[in-house]
Symmetry: D2
Subunit: 264 residues, 4 copies
C-alpha cells in the first residue's frame, strides 16, 4: 500500500504480545502528500474494520498541543521548558496551569502563558470540581493533546481521569508499585531502601496505578537523609518525565490494557 | 587507646543517625596481639557500660562459618561457591543444606558437604519444624555464624527468624517493598514495570520485611517475557546476594532497628 | 512472499543507517517447512542479486557449534557453562580450548571436552602458529560457528583474525576505546577513573578495535584497589560476554563496517 | 583537641592510600566558636609541621565565591543556576563569564551578573591572553574560590591552568580517557560504542587529563544518531558537573597527584 504511493519506510517496529496474541506495529514513512495521507486513511479504515484492528495515522511534523500542570515545585517545569526551547520536545506548550501562583515568573521567562487555577472558597470537593472545569476549558480552548502533571500534587477526580487517561502523564517520585501516594521519599527512608526511583505513567482513576511509561533509579546509602533523597529524586523525576513526554509526543507509546508498549 | 597499644588505624567509618542522634563507628586497625585484643575487650566493656554503647571486636582474619540453604535453583549456589573458591568470600562454607537433592553434585564438585533436609512424611507444619531442627543442629555442629538463603524457597518459622534474624541473609527477586512474596517476576510482568530488581535482606518474622542490605536493578521493556525477567533476574540475584554476604563477612554491616548501615 | 507460504511474522526489526542510507532488517517467522525454506532461499537469492542486498536465512532451532577459548581465569568459563546448562544459550559447546591445563576439571564437570593447546617448545611466533593450527583443526572437526574468547589472554594473528573475524567474540576488561591492551584495570587505577567497564567485541587484526557488541560499567571510588576492580570487573566481564554471545547465537547482531546493529 | 574545645564530631571519613601509605582524613564537627577556630588553626599548624601534614580548616557555612564560564550551550548554566536557586549549591555565584553574548538573558533572569569577554580583534593567541586577563581580573574582583567551566569550549593556557588547577572544574562530554578533545560524541558514534559518558575533572595544562571528580554513563544503541547522543549527553553533563561542583563546595574532594579522593 505504501509502495504504491511511493512512500518509503524509514523505520518500523513490531511486537507480538504472546499473552493475548495481539500484534503491535509502528511504521514511520516519508513521502506522503496530503492526498496520499487521505487515501491511506480510507484504506486503513477498511482494513481495520475487516481485521478488528485499531490504527492511528499521524503526521510527525504536526506538533501536539500540551498543557503543563504544576504546583510549587519548579524542577520539572524548568526542565520541560528548557528542553522545549532547545528543540528536544516537538510540541506547542500552550499553557502552564497551576493551583499556586509561585511559578508564574518561570513561564513568563520562557514566553508561555500561565494561568492560576486556585479556588479560594468552597468545600474541597467543590474547589476540585471548579479547578477541573478550568482544565476542561483549557482543553477545548487550546485544542490540547496532552496534560503533563509536572509534580501537580493534586489527585484528579475519577471523572477527569476517565476522560483524559490516555493523554495525561504523571510523574511519581518512587519506583512504582513501591511507595504509592504522597511522602514517597519519607516512606523510602523509613523502609531503608538502597535505591530510589521515579515513575512516569498515564493517570487512571486508581491512584498511581496507571500504565507505566518509564522508570529510573539511583543508588542511595544509609547516610542519605530524606532531604538528600529529595535532591537526588529531582534529577530522576525530571529525566524520567521528559523521556515519557518525548516518547508520547513522538507517538512511540501504545497503551494496551494497563501496560505500555514503548518503541524506543 | 589504640595508640597506647601501638595499633595503627587503617580505615575508619563514621555515621551519625540524625533521626535518633546515635553514632555508628567502624574502625579497622592493625598490630593487635592476642594480649592487646584481650585488653581492648576489657576496656571497651567498661566504656560500653559507661556510655550505653554496643560494640563488637572482631579479628578480620578470623573466618566465619556459613551454611548455604538452597532448593532447586542453582545460580546463587554456583555463584557463592565460585566466589569462595576464587577467594572473594573470606569464610568457611561449612555445609550446603537443601530441601531437595538436586544440587548435591554442585556441592560435591566444590568439595563442600551437602545435606538434604527434605521430610517426606507429616503435616506441613510438622515437616517445617523437623527441617528447622536440622538447621538448628547444623548451627551447633558447625558453630555457624551465618545462614545464607540462596533461593531457599521456604518461609522460615517466626521462632527460627527471631533466634537467627541478625545472621540470616535472604535474596528476594524484586526491589522490595514492591512485589513481596512469591512469583515476584510474574507480578512485575503483570504490573508492566520498566525496571526489575533484587534485594538482599536480613530475614525477620515479617515476610520480606527485614533490614535491606543491598538492592540492584536492571531495565526491561515491553518485549521481555516472564522468562526473560527470570533470566535477567538471575544475574541480579547472584550479584546482590554476593555483595551482601561479602559485606556481612567483612563486618561492614550494622543493623539498627529495621535498617542497615553499610560501610562500603 | 512469507504470506504466500502461510508463514507468520512473530517479530521484525528495522534500522535505516542514515549515514549510508542502508537498510537493515531482521524478520522472525514461524511455519516454514523445509520446502518453504528452500523456496525462500531461491527467491531471496534472486532479490539479493537484483537489489545488491545481503541476506541470511537461519533456522532458530538449529544450534550453532561453539568453542570456548580460555587461559587461567575461570569466571567467564564457569559463567558460560552454567548458562548453557540452564538453557540460556541455545548452542552446542563443542569444546573448551586452552593454552593452560588448569581449567580442565571445570569442563569435565560440565561434560564438555577440553583440549590443552599449549606448545612447550619453539619460538613465540612458532608456538602461536601451531596453537592457531589446532584452533583451525577444531574449527573443521567440530564444524564450528563461533569462537568465544573467554579471557583467552593471547593475541591472535592477523591471519586468524581475518579468517574468523565475524564469528570470534572477545571480552575486554575496560570500556573501550579506553585502556586498550593488557593491564586495563591497572591503567584505570592509575588514571583515577570513577567508573570501570567491560566490552564484548568481534576480534579484528587491529587490537581491541573490532565492532563492539555490548558494554557495561560499574561505579568505583578512590578506595577501590586494583584487586577490588578485578573482582568487580569479573562480574561485568561475565555478564557482558554472555549477553554478546547470546545475541550472536540468536542472530540478533549484524556487523556493518566497524560497528554492530544489535536487535535486542 | 576537639574534645577539649567542646566540639562534637558529626562525621568523619578516612582513607589510607596503600600505594603511598598516605592518610586522608575529613572531619566535620560542630560547636567551634571563632576563638576555637583560631586556636585549632594554631594547633594544627604545629602538628602539620611536625608530621609533614597538610590540612585545611573551613567553616561549612562560609559560602565560596564561584564564576561560571560558558559559551553558547545553555544546559549546564541553566542547571547550575536552578540548583543554586533551590539551595542545592551553597555558594555565591558571583558572575557568569562568556566568550559569546547569547546566554546573558539566562543570567539576568536568575539575577546573576553577566560579562561577555569576547575579543573581536587580534591574533588567536592575543585574544586568548586578553580573555584570560579578564578572568584573572574577575578572580581578584570577586575574591573567587572556584571557576566552573560549564561547556566553556575554550582551551585555557598552560599558565592559567597552573595557577588555577585545583579550583577549576571542567565538564567533558565523554567517559575519559576515551575521546579526549573536541567532537567527543562524533568520535563515540564513529567507534560504535554502546555506552556514552561525561566526566567532571580539575583542569590541568594537559588537555582532559586532570584529576577526575565524577563520571557517569548512559546506554545507547545503534539507532542513536550523534544528535541523539548530544541530547542524552546533555542530561549526563549537567548531572555530573553539578555533583562535582557540589562536592567541591562541600569540601568533600581532596586532590592527590592526578587523582581525587571524594568523601561522599
Amino acid at each position: 500500500m505504501l509502495q504504491e504511493h511511493n512512500c518509503s519506510i524509514v523505520r518500523s517496529d513490531h511486537f507480538t504480545d504472546k499473552t493475548c496474541w495481539m500484534l503491535f506495529l509502528r511504521i514511520c514513512f516519508t513521502g506522503a502528500t496530503t492526498e496520499v495521507h487521505r487515501d491511506l486513511h480510507k484504506a486503513l479504515q477498511v482494513q481495520a474494520k475487516k481485521f478488528q484492528m485499531h490504527y492511528m495515522l499521524e503526521q510527525a511534523e504536526q506538533r501536539k498541543n500540551i498543557a503543563i500542570l504544576v504546583s510549587r515545585n519548579s524542577h520539572c517545569l524548568y526542565d520541560l521548558l528548557i528542553r522545549h526551547k532547545q528543540g528536544e520536545l516537538k510540541a506547542n506548550i500552550s499553557i502552564v496551569l497551576s493551583n499556586h501562583p509561585e511559578l508564574r515568573d518561570i513561564a513568563d521567562f520562557f514566553g508561555i502563558p500561565f494561568r492560576c487555577i486556585a479556588q479560594p472558597d468552597g468545600s474541597e470537593q467543590d474547589k476540585k470540581r471548579r479547578m477541573e472545569d478550568i482544565l476542561e476549558d483549557a482543553y477545548r480552548e487550546f485544542n490540547l493533546d496532552l496534560f503533563v502533571l509536572a509534580r501537580y500534587m493534586q489527585i484528579l477526580s475519577d471523572d477527569f481521569c476517565q476522560r483524559h487517561s490516555d493523554h495525561t502523564i504523571n510523574i511519581h517520585h518512587s519506583f512504582l508499585p513501591a511507595f504509592i501516594g504522597g511522602r514517597a521519599y519519607h516512606k523510602a527512608f523509613e523502609r531503608g531502601v538502597k535505591v530510589i526511583g521515579a515513575t512516569a505513567h498515564y493517570t487512571t482513576a486508581s491512584l498511581d496505578d496507571g500504565p507505566i511509561i518509564e522508570q529510573d533509579v539511583r543508588r542511595i546509602s544509609h547516610s542519605d537523609s530524606v532531604k538528600d533523597m529529595v535532591r537526588e529524586g529531582r534529577d530522576l523525576e525530571r529525566v524520567v518525565l521528559a523521556r515519557a513526554v518525548r516518547w508520547h509526543l513522538e507517538n512511540r507509546v501504545i497503551i494496551h490494557e494497563n501496560k505500555t508498549i514503548v518503541f524506543i
